[in-house]
Amino acid sequence: MTRGLGLFLILLLAASHAFADAPVRFASVAVFIDSTEPLAAWQLDFSASGGGMQVVGVENGDSIAFHGVPYYDREAVDQGRADRIVVADYSLAEPSELPHGRVRVTTLHVMLSGEETPQFDTRLVVASSPDGNRIDAEISIEVSEGSEQ
């Protein structure tokens, strides 16, 4: 049993070492929310399957109503092969200043590893109006790998 455990650990180390040395590439994932009502707060869940993915930055969106940079839930960032991250932001701006329609709320910067391009899963947990009520909205992403200038 000890021998089995040792073999497992060796394989695990070899796998992790191989992963560490594997060539990596970077991509940006622009996240859009499309709502018919003013968007005051949102929260999304972003993950990947079928390939290694690590989030390496969370960027601000296009709406000036959201002055800062979205926050992320660190507890959701795995230490393993693929991250899962929860990102959210809110605005206290006047309803008239809030975005509606399709707006880029954030861009997630990611590092990819492995042969395969992972499948990204983006899920809108909640979008809300200025009075705190849930609103209907759709979420979409646009993925682009860094281009040369």
Binding site: A20, V24, R25, F26, A27, S28, A41, Q43, D45, Q54, V55, V56, G57, V58, E59, N60, G68, V69, P70, Y71, Y72, D73, R74, E75, A76, V77, Q79, R84, V86, A88, D89, Y90, T107, H109, V110, M111, V125, V126, S128, G132, S144, E145, G146, S147, E148, Q149
Partner: protein, 724 residues
């Protein structure tokens, strides 16, 4: 599970909370050499005069023999020849980015080898000796609520060269800073950095850099020394980095102190030390390890600093003072706005801002915060010292004064230390004994053992002090052994006071040595100079169950020593224990409660569950029981930061244990790592990394340019950087 934990209501609460946080000669051993001299002199109770002559004049002779020449006199024939060349018109501007125009000035071109910042040939300027470097400005904005300060630091990097660079900058932050946020700012775009395990973050950064992506990495080398790297800054362009941290303010003798350090002092690393912070000349690119590069005395960079501090004390502010020229306004009696004046923007010394609040309103305080999601409670207890009875008898003392006479102390710092030593002698009383120990490359001492505080001995001690000179390295461990390795006189209280700038790179070794030898001694650290190693000073005092004091260049050694003796003559409260009054308390730090000294409150933090109804602190004043009833605070300003304050103190406590045990199985390191990740804090094991993946810059990553800094005000380049 994540959805459940991250409800919208919680999201808003958490975001609001974050906003609130925002809102080291001779190689002979000391004992051997001194014992030898002692036996030759045949002295009995008093100090042998030969001892003074040998120790004092010898030290001076060594100092003269090794006296380095001023820079100008020893400069090599091939000394740098600068060429000024403006190449502004040739900069490759992005036509649609007018913001880059701001960075157009002072672009440098190829120059002489002495000015190479990295492996590439670039640099220049100038007759005025201004060296073009990537860090142009540091902007500090601080908000103080009560005794909690949140600080945003913006570092503005740009590329003044004609090819792509990686900027590397070693800089200090307060030793208690809990770094929680990191943003990379490129024009209007802001990219929040991700906190990861250190090795993981470094690997991500290296990959991004090698592939041409703009990226930044923030690494902690010591609790108060950080390294910023910014990769792939294109010619003429800029990248800013925002760092946010908070910390609790020190309170001494009625004054709260906000400190922003601006430069890391040149550290001495004893031979064989495995984790050094090297002090190198600007042009030395031989080392790839953690190193601070220094400008020569006749050089300067364009880097300047602005500091704005908003103080909301919660009670009336009676007085504001600073080490720098400041402009202060008082819109309300409990509010003050302070700005650094234009003439005081050279970042070569600690910025210290003190404010005194109404004395009658100072009372002990229990601040609590309950996490709305987990119901986990956190508390911070600030215990102010109670009044000390005037008739309390002063116990006889065994005073050991340890003074750093290394090269970095030469000049004003050593004069101040000598001033303080002389003042200390004035405070000795009949019945006291004392010893004076000096250390640099080695250690020597005034007497073979502590001598009685007679007029004769005090007079001899003054001669000994007068003959002290500064030169050599800072082998502090020699001073610690000399100060702590002799039998304790149980009839007296032993106080050991270290006077040093703390410019060493082996802090953990020092603290471990101190902890293993301390015995019954109480240690007081006196930081002397304009940019002291405050982390070392604070930890020495904590390990030694004493207190810390600082002597900035403007301050009088006499006054500081007066306060020291007032403090130790009558400890306000000893042998503390706390009645938690039903609170289910856990993970309390510091794990060993210190004594409370006059003028110095203590801060205790921990976790709790259930209700909080105030606490009662019990202790002794002399031999008399004393109790302090502390109620819950009515002001929750800054309470949302308590989890991070708790986590920061836990990490510091674990690091102290690690220094003593060596942590052979890395258990403590793992605990530190886990705590840092859970509470999103920078640590020795966690780092922030941010990558802009939207665009790759042309070509391979450029030359690495180390941001050189001036040596601290009052510190000599020749006796520190050049002799290292």
């Amino acid at each position: 599970m994540i959805e459940g934990k991250f409800s919208l209501r919680y999201l808003l609460t958490a975001c609001t909370a974050i906003t609130v946080i925002a809102a080291g000669c001779a190689s002979e051993s000391m004992m051997g050499s001194e014992q030898g001299r002692g036996s030759q002199s045949g002295a009995a109770d008093d100090l042998p005069l030969e001892e003074i002559v040998v120790a004092g004049s010898g030290n001076e002779n060594r100092g003269r023999a090794n006296e380095p020449q001023p820079y100008g006199a020893m400069a090599p024939a091939a000394r740098a020849h600068y060429r000024a060349k403006q190449v502004g018109e040739n900069l490759p501007y992005a036509s649609d980015e007018e913001i880059w125009v701001v960075q157009k000035a002072d672009t440098a071109s190829v120059a002489d080898i002495d000015d190479e910042p990295g492996s590439g040939a670039m640099v220049t300027i100038v007759d005025s000796k201004e060296v073009p470097l990537p860090l142009r400005h540091t902007d500090v904005k601080a908000q103080i609520n009560g005794y909690i300060s949140s600080v945003n630091v913006r570092q503005e990097f740009s590329n003044p060269f004609d090819s792509k660079i990686e900027a590397v900058y070693m800089f200090p932050l307060p030793e208690k800073a809990a770094v929680t946020e990191f943003l990379m700012v490129i024009g209007d775009r802001k990219i929040r950095g991700i906190l990861r395990e250190k090795e993981e973050a470094e690997a991500i950064y290296r990959a991004a850099r090698s592939q041409g992506y703009q990226a930044s990495l923030l690494v902690q080398h010591r609790p108060d020394i950080f390294e910023q790297k910014v990769a792939n800054i294109e010619p003429g362009k800029a990248i800013d980095v925002d760092i946010r941290y908070f910390h609790t303010l020190a309170y001494n003798d009625g004054w709260y102190s906000f400190v922003f350090p601006t430069v890391v002092g040149p550290r001495y690393n004893p031979p064989g030390h495995g984790d050094p912070i090297q002090a190198l000349p600007r042009t030395d690119t031989s080392s790839s390890g953690a190193a601070v590069r220094y400008l020569r005395p006749d050089e300067r960079s364009a880097h300047d600093i602005s500091i704005d501090v908003q103080i909301d004390a919660g009670v009336r502010i009676e007085e504001v003072r600073s080490t720098h020229k400041i402009a202060a306004s008082r819109p309300e009696e409990n509010i003050a706005t302070v700005q650094l004046e234009n003439g005081a923007t050279i970042p070569n010394r600690d910025f210290v801002l003190d404010f005194r609040v109404a004395g009658e309103t100072m009372k002990s305080d229990l601040l609590t915060y309950v996490d709305p999601d987990t119901q986990q409670g956190y508390f911070t207890l600030m215990l102010y010292p109670p009044e000390v009875a005037d008739d309390l008898a002063r116990q006889d003392m065994e005073m050991v004064f340890v003074v750093d006479t290394s090269g970095s102390m030469r000049g004003r710092p050593l004069e101040q230390a000598k001033e303080a030593l002389s003042a200390a002698l004035d405070h000795l009383q009949e019945g006291d004994t004392f010893q004076i120990i000096r250390f640099s490359d080695n250690a020597s001492q005034f007497g073979r053992s502590p001598v009685p505080a007679t007029k004769h001995n005090i007079g001899l001690a003054r001669q000994y002090i007068a003959n002290l000179g500064g030169n050599g390295g800072t082998r502090m461990i020699e001073g610690i052994r000399a100060a702590l390795d002799f039998p304790h006189d149980r009839s007296r209280l032993r106080f050991v006071s270290f006077m040093t700038d703390g410019y060493i790179g082996n802090e953990a070794e020092i603290l471990g040595e101190m902890q293993s030898r301390i015995g019954a001694s109480r240690i007081f650290s006196f930081g002397v100079g304009s940019s002291v190693n405050r982390y070392l000073m604070e930890r020495m005092a904590k390990v030694g169950r004493g207190a810390v004091a600082y002597l900035t260049p403007e301050e009088s050694g006499y006054e500081v020593m007066d306060g020291f003796f007032r403090r130790i003559s009558h400890p306000a409260l000893t042998d503390l224990h706390i009645d938690w009054n039903g609170m289910a308390v856990s993970d309390v730090y510091p794990s060993v409660l210190p004594d409370v000294f006059v003028g110095r409150p203590i801060v205790v933090t921990g976790k709790f569950l259930g209700p909080s109804n105030g606490v009662v602190v019990h202790g002794l004043q002399g031999s008399v029981d004393h109790r302090v009833v502390i109620e819950n605070s009515s002001d929750d300003g800054g309470a949302a930061s308590l989890p991070k304050i708790w986590a920061r103190m836990r990490i510091a406590d674990l690091a102290d244990q690690r220094a003593v045990t060596g942590d052979p199985y890395e258990e403590l390191a793992n605990e530190i790592r886990a705590t840092a990740l859970e509470y999103k804090l920078m640590s020795d094991y966690t780092s922030f990394v941010a990558v802009d993946t939207s665009q790759r810059t042309d070509g391979e990553f450029g030359t690495t340019v180390h941001q050189a800094v001036p040596v601290p005000d009052g510190v000599r380049y020749d006796t520190t950087v050049e002799q290292n």
